[in-house]
């Protein structure tokens, strides 16, 4: 840890709003409006926020899938040293892009339905001309195995796969060029609960195996708490708080983070607290409020919040927050939940099943007897 992989300084992405016959620009949507981040090698850096806060645009702009309006993106390449991605020409981009990949949210629209899975996964290697022929085929088979699919799946088309499997295909494609950094843009939001757990486990395994760095974009705070090392909270195009997962979840310094944590529906009926409800809605990034963007909804807002935008400043231990009162407010963090235990009967049967499988002599009568007696005891 500690070794920088990516630095983002004052990144801005404004989309023009065009109106009228001459398509004159009448204003700008400030999707990303001054983003500062630093991501260390090997960590999972999460960006959370509500829809429209600019988290996906940030991810895409870092990869230069969108041209940044202003700011710097510095990628620390192992052999080429520091590279300013925002200034790189197409030749240089082609050299560094294999190291920076992306996994998209929607596994249904991010795979070309007219290409076989094999071609989809091979495409990055064909474009960069890293492998050919037999070797390419072997590599595709290997990648499919790595993400938990079978090599023979290469000849099928995406429509034959479920959402979770498609997301695995997307992951295999992202891994094809041995990347260092993967931007995961809501990779599990479109998946069912049980499949979500499978994909999250896969992402964690791959990170360990290939020493990957993730920028994990998500709106789901429980997922982020589970997977992230450090977290940045975005609000209307700006980062409002950055800290380690512990700092941010259990000792938030920015009222918006507190509200997000409190709004999270906790999967525990014993923990039915009334959330701190935020008044109103997320302001439009085309016409943000004055001063601190959060002040119209902030329960702690004072006069200064309406006039001056608070800078993102260190509140101690590298925990950054953009709030005039970050050090004065005592905010409530997340409530840790208790674990759900499997009933004894299920674990007992599972153990029994394992032993039966081991001795490969299944006696159904015995098994059901055990189940019956287990239930009555």
């Amino acid at each position: 840890m500690g070794e920088l992989l990516l630095e983002v300084k004052g990144l801005k992405k404004h989309f023009p709003i065009k109106q009228g016959f001459f398509r004159r620009t009448v204003g700008h949507v400030r999707a990303v409006d001054g983003l500062d981040l630093s991501v260390n090698r090997g960590e999972t850096f999460a960006i959370v926020g509500e829809s429209g806060c600019g988290k996906s645009t940030s991810g895409r702009t870092i990869l230069r899938l969108e041209e940044p309006t202003a700011g710097e993106i510095i990628y620390h390449h192992e052999t080429l040293g520091k590279i300013n991605v925002e200034k790189a020409d197409s030749k240089l981009l082609k050299r560094i892009r294999p190291e920076m990949q992306i996994i998209f949210q929607d596994p249904f629209s991010s795979l070309d339905s007219r290409m076989t899975v094999g071609r989809i996964i091979a495409e990055p290697m064909v474009i960069n001309d890293t492998l050919r022929g037999r070797e390419l085929k072997d590599r595709v088979a290997e990648l499919l195995t790595v993400v938990g699919l079978r090599p023979e799946h290469a000849s099928r088309y995406p429509h034959a796969f479920s959402g979770g499997q498609r997301q695995r295909i997307g992951i295999a494609r992202a891994l094809a060029l041995n990347p260092k950094l993967i931007i995961c843009d809501e990779p599990v939001s479109a998946l069912d609960v049980s499949v979500q757990a499978q994909v999250l486990n896969l992402l964690e395994d791959l990170q360990e195996r290939f020493n990957l760095t993730y920028i994990f974009i998500s709106h789901d705070l429980s997922v982020v708490e589970h997977i992230a090392d450090r977290v940045a909270v975005m609000y209307v195009g700006k980062v409002v708080e950055v800290g380690t997962t512990d700092q941010l979840f259990y000792n938030p310094k920015m009222p918006y983070t507190e509200a997000l944590l409190s709004a999270l529906p906790k999967p525990d009926p014993r923990n039915r607290s009334k959330p701190t409800l935020l008044a109103g809605e997320v302001p439009s990034p085309a016409n943000p409020p004055s001063g601190c963007y959060f002040h119209p909804r902030c329960p702690y807002a004072q006069e200064i919040c309406k006039k001056e935008a608070p800078p993102l400043q260190d509140t101690g231990d590298g925990h950054l927050a953009a709030c005039h009162f970050a050090n004065e407010l005592t905010l409530k963090g997340a409530t840790p939940l208790t674990e759900i235990k499997a009933p004894d009967i299920i674990t007992a049967t599972a153990r029994h099943q394992a032993s039966v499988a081991a001795s490969s002599a299944a006696q159904p009568t015995e098994a059901s007897e055990q189940a019956g007696s287990g239930a009555t005891s």
Partner: protein, 402 residues
């Protein structure tokens, strides 16, 4: 049907004939929606949650059809021509506790109405009886507020439509009530919102408008199909709080369909868990979360990341995926994915619903608990019968009865 429930679904079967095969969306679903309570229905996509809701309102898309079972509905009050001088004071409505006689509707099929109990599967889906019930007695909130509001009418118009249809013929009065209900769901400027079109509102506002529309006739039962899935967490919290408040004020029953365990834990009183068109577990919310019995429920609860619990550890997963809808799984539908499946039993015999000992409201469909096989039920002696279950390879049809 139990006197304290508003809707009683009994052994409901719904099928969708498709060119590639028959999809059995519901395979004998039974449950009750208790009066004045919130019932949660959870399950992964394709488990039949939404089809159940649509079956109750009789709005299953073609070619889907109800092929068996019954849906009994007991309106909250006898309603003559309820359009007289009823103003907005719906809290004054007295629940029909007097009609406690169990109206076990006679031979299913005909649109029988006994003691105010209506058998919904017998009604013509386009007929006047069901249209009197839809919107008036049972109303629904859909997941996508943008696609379920009409883009060419104002929000006010759309709410007034329901009021004019069911409650009053006076346009000015309808408008007044529409504005009132918009105010009730927390719209900041109800007069202005009533005049705006759906595209002018944000996602949360649209969902509030949907809720306002659903509540405009103060229904007996509100069906909410994933009401907060498309919303952000802070908006979701607002909508959940609103539903909680309105439920308390109006005293209606809510059937909440969701895949989010968090939403269930926060809002519901009772929960049923569905898997492949069957109810696999039913319990009061507290018991379901802290003492789950079915291996599917347990795995589902353990596979969600829980704050402060499984940080950095691997999440428990349910192996495999939900089988495709065209195939039929013999025995317990969950057995191919179940960590505790008993060979020779779970893969052949469909478990029946059994009650957990000394917990009358907690039912589970699993062979790990006594009383789950037809032989056991026949013997009424679970422990003694357990020995014989190995040979009890009752065909599926036999297991289905009861």
């Amino acid at each position: 049907m139990p006197a304290e429930s508003v809707v009683s679904v009994r052994d409901l079967h719904v099928e969708f004939p498709t060119p590639v095969g028959l999809v059995r969306a519901l395979n004998g679903v039974s449950f009750d929606v208790p009066r004045g309570k919130v019932l949660g229905i959870v399950g992964e996509s394709g488990c039949g949650k939404s089809v159940t809701a649509r079956a109750i309102l009789r709005i299953i898309e073609k070619p889907g059809r109800i092929v068996g079972g019954e849906i009994l509905f007991r309106p909250m009050r006898r309603r003559g021509r309820g359009r007289a001088g009823r103003t907005g004071d719906d809290a004054s409505r007295v629940p029909a506790t007097g009609s406690g006689v169990d109206g076990n509707s006679g031979a299913g099929g005909s649109a029988s109405e006994t003691n105010g109990v209506v058998e919904l599967t017998g009604l013509d889906p386009g007929g006047p009886e069901i249209r009197r019930i839809r919107g008036q007695e049972i109303s629904m909130i859909f997941q996508e507020p943008m696609t379920s509001l009409n883009p060419v009418y104002t929000v006010g118009n759309q709410i007034e439509e329901a009021i004019l249809l069911h409650q009053t013929s006076d346009r000015a009065e309808a408008h007044r009530r529409a504005v009132e209900i918009l105010r009730r769901v927390g719209m900041p400027n109800p007069e202005r919102i009533a005049r705006s079109y759906p595209h002018q509102l944000s996602g949360g506002m649209r969902q509030r408008a949907m809720i306002a529309m659903a509540l405009s006739c103060t229904p007996t039962l509100l069906i909410a199909d994933e009401p907060t899935t498309a919303l952000d967490v802070t908006t979701e919290a607002q909508i959940l709080e609103l539903m909680r408040e309105l439920q308390a004020d109006f005293g209606m029953s809510i059937m909440l369909i969701t895949h989010s365990m968090g939403v269930v834990a926060q809002l519901c009183d009772e929960v049923i868990v569905m898997y492949l068109g069957r109810v696999v577990e039913r319990a009061p919310v507290e018991e379901l979360f802290h003492d789950p019995k079915h291996p599917y429920t347990v795995s589902l609860l353990r596979s969600i990341p829980r704050i402060g619990v499984n940080r950095g550890e691997r999440l428990e997963v349910i192996k495999g995926t939900v089988p495709d809808p065209y195939s039929t799984v013999p025995g317990c539908p969950f057995h191919p994915r179940c960590p505790s499946a008993i060979q020779g039993l779970c893969d052949t015999v469909l478990p029946l619903e059994t009650q957990i000992a000394d917990k009358p409201s907690h039912g589970v469909r699993c062979h790990l608990y006594p009383g789950s096989t037809p032989t056991e039920v026949a013997d009424q002696n679970p422990v003694a019968a357990a020995g014989s279950t190995g040979t009890a390879t009752t065909p599926r049809g036999g297991a289905e009865t009861t």
